[in-house]
């Protein structure tokens, strides 16, 4: 759960890993998502899952980087990402319309690539500071004196409600149950 955006962005540029390919002591370099198209392809999967028309490519690409970074955590997950990308290329995912892409993503549910992308996006895309700005979330506030003078109560499309408890609350809570036992279920 430890998320440092800067950390995963910077190390995501190291797109190569040492992968054990089943042969004891035999190491091989495996190149994962080393081409820019791969990064774009992953970003388009993220966009198909979590479509926000008004989001530019940046946050989606950064999420793709996080996906790659996570996949590089083990040879097995790197392999899963690589095979997932090959399959997406084979079906022409990059040419699909929004609804086709969503339908295809649905058909991928349960696959390792789906879990990898979904899990990373939930914690990656929505922690991105550009996304926070786009969504209108102002975030950290203590150093600015909180929101007490910055709109915590600026909603004006509804009447001002009561904040005190209703005078009959104590009586209501003390009155006891409406009736005794429930029918045994």
């Amino acid at each position: 759960m430890r998320l440092s955006r800067r950390a995963f962005i910077s190390s995501a540029s190291a797109f190569t890993i040492l992968a054990y390919l089943g042969v004891p002591n035999a190491q091989a370099h495996m190149s994962i998502a080393s081409e820019p198209e791969d990064r774009k392809l992953i970003a388009s999967v993220v966009r198909a899952m979590f479509p926000h028309d008004r989001f530019p490519e940046g946050p989606y690409l950064r999420t793709a980087d996080a996906v790659i970074k996570k996949a590089l955590g083990s040879p097995a997950s790197a392999l899963e990402l690589k095979s997932g990308l090959i399959a997406l290329k084979q079906v022409g995912f990059d040419k699909m319309s929004g609804s086709e892409a969503l339908a295809h993503v649905k058909s991928m549910e349960g696959s390792p690539l789906f879990s990898l992308v979904h899990g990373t996006t939930v914690t990656g895309l929505y922690t991105d500071s550009e996304v926070h700005q786009l969504l209108g979330y102002e975030g950290s506030s203590f150093e600015q004196g909180g929101y007490i003078k910055r709109g915590f109560d600026d909603l004006n499309w509804l009447p001002e409600p009561r904040i005190e408890e209703h005078p009959e609350l104590a009586k209501f809570l003390g009155a006891g149950p409406k009736s005794y036992a429930v029918a045994a279920n």
Binding site: G145, G151, F152, L155, P161, R162, I163, E165, H166
Partner: protein, 520 residues
């Protein structure tokens, strides 16, 4: 700070959260020296961060845990069944502040609701009358708004939507509290600046937690030996079956022994039973204090769910106190609704990071992003009600191990049909409320990792039915006390912390008396 010799038989408190923090303050105030062993570090308010995941990784309890059962948390968060904190102050660092009292009949649910199939309901050995003066003391300690002459918090944006919806559907009992955050300066701490980060520890100190009140004050008495980063792994006993020491691991993995004349266990409802189960011996083969086989059973986590709604106009619900909004109209037991017990509705706001993680785990697609995309126009509430204790909902020792190589706790939970019926009903009512003020879309959010963890060392009149007596004193090991949320016989609809604190104040008073009489 006081140094207590490890060979001196001390009063040892395990954990420094709502229960443990209150215990050490009340005991040292009464002149009784204590050792407090806390697994987490002493993180000071200036180190708290206004950012959801970084704060979570700073303080949440992330040691190995496993899950089972049909609850959705086991599927969505299999390694993270609970949201608890490992730090001085325990989970009160991350708590919000809702402080309702239990209702009279919520201490006697078996005789009020009757037998319910599959539920292990039991009446508490104490009543609201026994608790009343302690509730007042706990409210004064926490500084609950709307109580003791303390001012209510103002309405924030999320509350405005919530309270107007309440009024429209005919609810009467809404207010911005009772809530454990100062509206005005109180008890040496300032009024709220509405910074919106209750769940991340309040840097402004307006929110009560034991790391900003009880622990510093206990240290000031000069009688507290506080040892952070000290993870207790076993309670040992002498040949007569009395607890005589605790063994703990420091941050470097070294094992220490602290001799004890009294042990107060307050590790919360997962770790307390786990520690008792790990403290088995020839004499206590089922785990310490577990002759009744009730340790770890009857685990409760409250019926919960959340409702988010999207509106045409801005709400900006993240600004201001996270949970300062209450509706009590649904709390009264009314079997005509198709379930036993009741529930509260409480305002809830999350930042985009947590909202995305909790809105609908596993969810995606346009309905999901419609909520996220209109984040500024979203309002939210939490539904929290009484869940049925079940004997088979329990904490056991898993085959998997934690960072010390010790058995991790497994948290098993099956929803009871009563919990499911209540949740369904509560969702409908919450939707009606938001629709009454013009919601364009509502979203039913399932329970997230348990923040309320109760019942696993329950209090009972009869030793066969539970683990501790009406004082929280083990039926079986008479110098062992349980001082946290695990003593709850049943959970009521109320958020639990006020009751945990009130019970700890009561227990400390009793224990101080027994110590003075030489009866422990």
């Amino acid at each position: 700070m006081k140094k207590i010799n490890k060979n001196e038989e001390a009063v040892v408190v395990i954990g420094s959260g709502a229960g443990g923090g209150t215990m050490v303050y009340e005991l040292t105030k009464a002149g009784i020296p204590c050792v407090c062993l806390e697994a987490g570090a002493f993180i000071k308010p200036e180190e708290y961060v206004n950012d959801e995941w970084p704060s979570f990784s700073q303080m949440a309890w992330l040691d190995k845990r496993t899950t089972s059962g049909n609850w959705r948390v086991a599927k969505d968060f299999p390694g993270l069944p609970t949201w608890l904190v490992k730090a001085v102050g325990g989970t009160t660092t991350h708590w919000a502040g809702a402080t309702p009292r239990f209702l009279d009949y919520e201490f006697k649910t078996l005789s009020t609701y009757g037998e319910i199939a599959g539920a292990s309901l039991l009446d508490w050995p104490i009543s609201l009358t026994d608790m009343e003066s302690y509730y007042t003391k706990a409210e004064d300690a926490i500084g609950s708004t709307h109580r003791g002459g303390r001012a209510p918090l103002p309405a924030n944006n999320n509350y405005k939507v919530f309270a107007n919806g309440a009024e429209k559907v005919g609810y009467k009992f809404y207010a911005t509290g009772p809530y454990g955050t100062n509206a005005e300066a109180y008890d040496g701490r300032p009024g709220s600046i509405q910074d919106g980060f209750n769940f991340q520890g309040d840097k402004n100190l307006s929110k009560w937690n034991t790391a900003v009140r009880e622990i510093p004050r206990a240290l000031e008495t000069g009688l507290l030996d506080l040892r952070p980063e000290s993870h207790v792994v076993k309670i040992t006993h002498d040949p007569s079956g009395r607890a005589d020491a605790v063994l703990y691991v420091d941050k470097d993995g070294n094992l220490h022994r602290q001799a004890a004349k009294v042990v107060c266990l307050a590790g919360n409802s997962i770790e307390s039973p786990r520690l008792l189960l790990m403290s088995d011996s020839n004499r206590f083969p089922n785990g310490l204090a577990n002759g009744s086989d009730q340790v770890g059973r009857n685990y409760m986590r409250h019926m919960t769910g959340s409702m988010y709604a999207r509106f045409e106009k801005p709400v900006n619900f993240y600004r201001g106190e996270t949970m300062a909004g209450f509706i009590a109209d649904e709390v009264i037991h009314d079997p005509n609704r198709g379930f036993a017990g009741g529930y509260y509705m409480e305002t809830l706001a999350l930042g985009p990071a947590f909202l995305a993680a909790f809105l609908d785990p596993g969810g995606y697609g346009p309905e999901f992003t419609a909520i996220m995309d209109n984040y500024e126009n979203v309002a939210g509430m939490w539904l929290v009600g009484e869940d049925m204790p079940q004997s088979s909902n329990r904490i056991t020792l898993s085959a998997e191990t934690d960072q010390w190589g010790l058995p991790a706790p497994n948290v098993h939970f099956d929803d009871h049909p009563n919990d499911v019926a209540m949740r369904e009903y509560a969702y409908e009512k919450a939707e009606a409320l938001y629709n009454a003020v013009g919601a364009l879309q509502t979203y039913r959010t399932p329970p997230y990792p348990s923040t309320h963890n109760l019942g696993t060392c329950r209090m009972s009149a009869n030793p066969e039915d539970g683990v501790v007596d009406q004082w929280g004193r083990s039926h079986e090991v008479r110098n062992l006390f349980v001082s946290d949320g695990s003593v709850m016989t049943t959970g009521a609809a109320a958020n639990p912390t006020l009751t945990i604190v009130a019970l700890a104040i009561r227990q400390a008073e009793y224990l101080a008396g027994e110590l003075k009489k030489g009866k422990v």
